[in-house]
Symmetry: C2
Subunit: 342 residues, 2 copies
DNA sequence: TTGTACGCGTTATCAC
DNA sequence: GTGATAACGCGTACAA
């Protein structure tokens, strides 16, 4: 049971300094800060006293947004598994009013033991990758325990529970090729977004394999969201018209289908559409959406279990990257795909 | 600046007893507990020291579920307004893994200053109304500051920001009557759910006004959710077939439309459908859903502002009920409603 | 069931 | 910028 005093003694500083470092207060020289953090990380992570370093049974779940239903779905799955493991969950929406960084600060101050980041800021195509990488490394240095879900950040020493995006793109394209399609478009998210890039690579590989050219004019980039999907679909339909389209998410697929309908094309008769995620409403839209399901429950279980192991004082500390896992998406064929018009 | 010591002195007990009461620990005689709580409530609510009773700038948002997109939408709107008011938000999903009561306990222990309950437990048709009323009254007695959104609990002394459900039902039915419909069904949530009952009353009033009998066989009850909507629609279609159907929520409407399509009926040609909520995807479904929008941003602003006033040490305390407000829903006509088949 | 004594981290103050 | 110190408020172990 180590408290501020022990850390202070080991680092050769005063308790006030340790307190200041842990609470990220200004006015601390960098190397002093580093010395304290070094000591903190050398201490066995069982070292938890009765004060602010005590066990609370609370974890933080950070999701980038709530308007795409896949994130609420992840949140519910994570919360449910965390409860089974004996942890209460606090949910934070990191790209709306408050930044991920601010939430992390607030959660640690509120005595959260660990955090799960779904699509963390480092996977945000709009963020400065180098800066956010440095920020996560600082958190690791401070002993903050965390796990990523779909983090797309293999270079960071954080366990990352992902879905195989490449396989998703490949499987979707393969499904459309099997139906007889040859001109298969790809409605992508922002060009810098790694999940979209990986799916595109899978799509490209499947087309290559089938002897079809994955031409650049078959790919349209747009912002995530239904409006983005509609915009990207409009771009594709203005060019040489594809007979099928693969979308980066179900939400984009809904926007894309709407744009197709606006132009008098019906799905799947004139144009097949494949989504990605399998949000709950995908089965209830007209036509019901063919999509690639993320195994959300399994991924949530893996993420929570990995975090729980890192929080368990009886478990030995473990390197992070070796415990990352990649899950396979599942093709769910519904009504939005069919053979191309003859 | 009053702390545990002041409260203890005024109540004639020790600080540990006050601590135990505030943390809801077992092993406290009821009248001792009551004496402490009485003192707590007589103290001006500016009385906040440096310990667990200090100001933290954090509020809790409690929503019943995340699978109906209307709740994530409320959560984002509330969070955004709370951030404007200088508060960070912690989101809790109260009907999944952990109960509302457990979350309240945990949030107070984590130093949350106040809470906003969207569709609180007392509005849950499956809950024991008397028991949950008592629990809220206990919280009020402990000085917990809270505001309801769509709480449907006028008898409790908690400000309640609601949408006018009766007007929603009336407006939807009126819209369908104006289109020429006469047999208008109602897909309701569980029979005990007050929001559904109020909408049904509005539907009933509009039909009466038009000289149409709101027959019981035109109403079908089912669980909330898309599956429930499908089941209720099946029940209605097994009886004397209506030409239009009004649903308790957009999610139920999607399920209902799916069931109609399964039976070879197309919307709106054979059957008009009206939803309620205006979830983001309502505009992107085929056909786009005619619905009654809740003014989510306005309701969120009202709820946050009311809570903020209650947390402001400079504001005088105010009775709760007199600050409840009811908002008007807006009819949004899209593609799922049309004149009845001739 | 309740009070006392102690441990904890935080904050403020002052010295250097 | 950092350390020493003291006061403070909360939580808990333990004793009554």
């Amino acid at each position: 049971m180590a408290g501020l005093a022990d850390i202070a003694k080991a680092a050769g500083v005063s308790v006030s300094t340790v307190s200041r470092v842990l609470n990220r207060r200004a006015g601390i020289k960098e190397d002093t800060r580093q010395r304290v953090l070094d000591v903190l990380n050398q201490l066995p992570h069982t070292a938890r006293g009765l004060g602010a370093l005590r066990r609370t049974g609370v974890v933080g779940l950070l999701v980038p947004e709530l308007s795409n239903p896949v994130f609420p779905a992840f949140a519910e799955a994570l919360e449910s598994r965390a409860a089974q493991a004996g942890y209460a969950s606090l949910l934070c929406n990191t790209r709306a009013a408050m930044s991920e960084k601010d939430y992390v600060q607030m959660l640690t101050a509120r005595g959260v033991e660990g955090m799960i980041f779904v699509s963390p800021e480092i996977a945000n195509p709009d963020s400065d990758e180098r800066r956010s990488r440095r920020e996560y490394e600082e958190l690791l240095g401070e002993g903050v325990r965390m796990v990523f879900v779909n983090g797309c950040a293999p270079s960071l020493d954080v366990p990352d529970i992902t879905v195989d995006e490449h396989l998703a793109g490949y499987t979707a394209a393969r499904h459309l090729l099997d139906l007889g399609h040859r001109r298969i478009g790809f409605v992508s998210g922002p060009a810098r977004a790694l999940p979209s890039r990986l799916k595109q690579a899978g799509w490209s590989a499947a087309l290559d394999e089938a002897g079809v050219e994955p031409a650049a004019e078959l790919v349209a980039h747009a912002a995530f969201g239904a409006e983005g999907g509609a915009a990207a679909m409009a771009e594709l339909l203005d060019g040489p018209r594809p007979t099928a389209v693969l979308c980066s998410s179900d939400v984009m697929a809904l926007g894309a289908m709407r744009e197709a309908k606006r132009r008098g094309l019906s799905t799947p008769e004139d144009l097949s559409v494949v989504g990605f995620d399998d949000i709950g409403l995908a089965a209830y839209c007209q036509p019901a959406l063919t999509t690639l399901a993320q195994p959300i429950a399994d991924m949530a279980a893996a993420a929570v279990d990995e975090l729980a192991r890192r929080l368990d004082p009886d478990e030995p500390p473990r390197r992070a990257t070796s415990f990352s896992r990649m899950f396979r998406p599942t093709l769910i064929v519904r009504e939005s795909t069919a053979a191309p018009p003859s």
